[in-house]
């Protein structure tokens, strides 16, 4: 049952290069894929679990990554992170479709996996090996069917303002979940348009996200990241364990990422894509928090913490 669950959440490849390329796809370790409808039969004949792709059944996503906006005056040189996690929070029941440029396929796959969403990824053919390596990494992950953890409940009115606030919260690793009504399990419940969170203030989503952060306080945050502006995290867990998903949108390796998770966990295990002998360093628990450093990370790393 678990195996089925994880097969279901592994991202799919959408491949339109024709069945003549079957060997390359096999070499990448891929045995299931979406293909143009007219190629479905040929791919099945080649031994693949092939499905006809129908774009209408998927929500198209922008490519994840970062933009260095040198032409825009800002207080810092922190790059703009294009991430889709907040979109998944808004519409978790739908299936998604990425059409990504070169060197973004592994990132898109990691993002989709981290949020447990069904995704199909169309990539540049030269990205196929990297995509295959990411799929192999994800297949090797220990299964962990855990609910998402967050500090903030956002009552989503479906507006553009609320969407942008969700986006800004995610970019600052302020963990939020979309709720239909205030939920006491969150430290903070935010309804944009309420007296406490006026709609006018949400017109500046960055300032609004800062307001939410101040109200929450950094001490209560379930997750803090130090040492990178381009890594975003997601937390899942229960009373005894937590899984930290870390996605690096920056395009380069991160050397040293300090992570703080609220709560004391005595054991931590790291799995890092494209990093040999990955292990956590400088691990300690103090002040109701568990901290550790990831020495090196590529696109994606997962840390499992247990009490």
């Amino acid at each position: 049952m678990l195996a089925f669950f994880f097969a279901a959440v592994l991202p799919w490849l959408y491949w339109d290069q024709g069945a003549a390329t079957a060997d390359a796809v096999k070499q990448a370790g891929i045995d299931r894929l979406y293909v143009p409808a007219e190629q479905e039969t040929a791919w099945k004949a080649a031994g693949f679990n092939a499905r006809a792709f129908d774009a209408a059944k998927f929500v198209k996503l922008p490519a994840p990554g970062v933009e260095y906006r040198a032409d825009v005056a800002t207080a810092t040189n922190v790059p703009w992170v294009d991430a889709n996690g907040w979109r998944f929070e808004r519409g978790r029941s739908r299936a998604y479709y990425y059409d990504v440029p070169w060197r973004k396929a592994a990132l898109a796959a990691a993002e989709a996996y981290a949020y447990g969403i069904e995704a199909v990824i169309h990539l540049e053919p030269r990205d196929l090996p990297a995509f295959g390596r990411m799929l192999a990494f994800l297949r090797g992950m220990e299964s962990a069917e855990l609910p998402a953890l967050a500090n903030i409940g956002i009552i989503d009115d479906g507006s553009r303002e609320t969407g942008e606030v969700l986006n800004l919260l995610a970019r600052r690793n302020l963990l939020a979940r979309v709720v239909t009504a205030p939920d006491p399990k969150y430290e903070l419940n935010v309804r944009i348009g309420s007296k406490e969170y006026p709609k006018a203030e949400a017109a500046d989503p960055s300032a609004f996200a800062s307001l939410i952060r101040r109200k929450l306080t950094d001490e209560k945050r379930l997750l803090r990241l130090y040492g990178s502006d381009v890594v975003l995290g997601r937390l899942t867990g229960d009373a005894t364990r937590v899984r930290v998903h870390l996605i690096n949108y920056g395009g380069g390796k991160v050397e040293g990422l300090r992570v703080r998770v609220r709560g004391a966990y005595t054991h931590g295990m790291l799995a890092a894509f494209a990093v040999k002998s990955a292990a956590l360093i400088d691990y300690n628990t103090a002040d109701d928090g568990t901290e550790f450093t990831i020495p090196e990370m590529d696109v994606y790393a997962v840390v499992d913490l247990k009490k």
């Binding site: 005056a73 207080a75 810092t76 922190v78 600052r172 690793n173 960055s206 800062s210 952060r213 950094d218 803090r224 990241l225 130090y226 040492g227 990178s228 502006d229 050397e255 040293g256 990422l257 300090r258 400088d282 300690n284 901290e291 450093t293 020495p295």
Partner: protein, 335 residues
């Protein structure tokens, strides 16, 4: 800090210490400046005794150089080499000496290895910009300036885990945000990560952040000597020095254990030079001169930030030294 000699400094000027045209350093003169400066600071007849007051053979000594303006201006290699030589006279072996700075790409342009004995370590915290691996995860200042998510500035591991003593070797430089960059800024911003965030807007947080970082243990207690290298200086555009336009040659060195007292003298050197060049004072807080972009590179009447030279007095209030010139004992020596 403020160490064995609070409120006491020795200033040594030597006209022949550097040739402003070639920027060639006269090594015998520099050696004499250091000997006389140290003797004047400690009131010893023999410079070896001066060094022995501060260092023992078992010490592991970090030399905090400043290379942010390299290769135009940096802790002069000949000065650093003579410091290493003097440490040797009291039994500190080359293998126990670490020249350290934050950014490798800056240090690489200086080639300290050509001036110091084999065995001296040349260490940088960030071989690759932004890496936090060489910083101590457990020693940091946590402060939120403008809503940044990474609110920590961590101390370099060598400071907390390896050194027993530190010698601070700053230059005499203007600094667009801090007003000047001397002992305090060199030891603070040069030993901690993630500090540039304090001057990300026109109005900066350098006033309190510099002294706060400098007062963090064990940095504070391990920094036992400051040798301010003023052979060269920068009177505008600092801490960088891409061209010689704003470089000048004070031809002096200041010795002390009190970073506030040494930096207090630096303020007058930089502000005096700026006044002589008809540039805005380091104390000018008018927004009229503040402009974004790179205009300050060429025009000394343009500033990038509101300067905060008051960071030195603030550090004095934290107990790091003596700011009041009436209470600073200055020994002036001319060679």
């Amino acid at each position: 800090m403020p160490g064995l000699y609070p409120g006491k400094v020795a200033r040594v000027h030597a006209e022949n210490s550097i040739d402003p045209n070639s920027e060639k350093v006269d090594v015998p003169t520099v050696r004499e400046m250091i000997a006389q400066g140290m003797r004047a600071l400690t009131d010893d007849a023999d410079a070896r005794d001066s060094w022995a007051r501060l260092f023992v053979p078992a010490d592991v000594v970090g030399i905090k150089v400043n290379c942010s303006g390299a290769p135009g201006i940096m802790s002069t290699p000949e000065v650093v080499a003579d410091i290493v030589r003097n440490l040797g006279t009291v039994g500190v072996k080359p293998e126990q000496v670490w020249i350290y700075e934050r950014f490798q790409n800056q240090v690489d342009t200086v080639h300290y290895d050509r001036f110091v004995p084999a065995g001296v370590h040349i260490w940088t915290a960030e071989g690759r910009r932004g890496t936090i691996l060489n910083y101590d995860p457990n020693t940091y200042v946590d402060v939120n300036f403008f809503g940044e998510d990474d609110t920590r500035s961590n101390l370099a591991r060598v400071v907390s885990e390896r050194f027993t003593k530190i010698i601070n070797v700053p230059n005499m430089k203007d600094h667009g945000a801090a007003g000047v960059t001397g002992c305090l800024k060199n030891i603070a911003y040069g030993s901690f990560s993630n500090v540039a965030r304090s001057h990300s807007g026109f109005k900066t947080n350098t006033y309190s952040f510099i002294g706060t970082l400098a007062s963090v243990e064990p940095l504070r207690s391990r920094t036992v000597l400051a040798v301010m290298d003023g052979l060269r200086g920068v009177w505008h555009g600092g801490p960088f020095s891409p061209s010689r336009k704003f470089r000048f040659y004070p031809k002096q060195m200041i010795f002390g254990t009190d970073p506030v007292a040494v930096d207090r003298l630096l303020l007058d050197v930089i502000d005096g030079k700026r006044k002589a060049e008809h540039a805005t004072s380091v104390w000018d807080r008018s927004m009229a001169h503040i402009k974004g972009g790179n205009g300050y590179d060429e025009n000394p009447s343009i500033d990038r930030f509101v300067r905060e030279p008051g960071h030195i007095e603030y550090a004095g209030k934290l107990g790091l030294g003596v700011y009041d010139t009436g209470k600073i004992q200055i020994r002036n020596i001319e060679i």
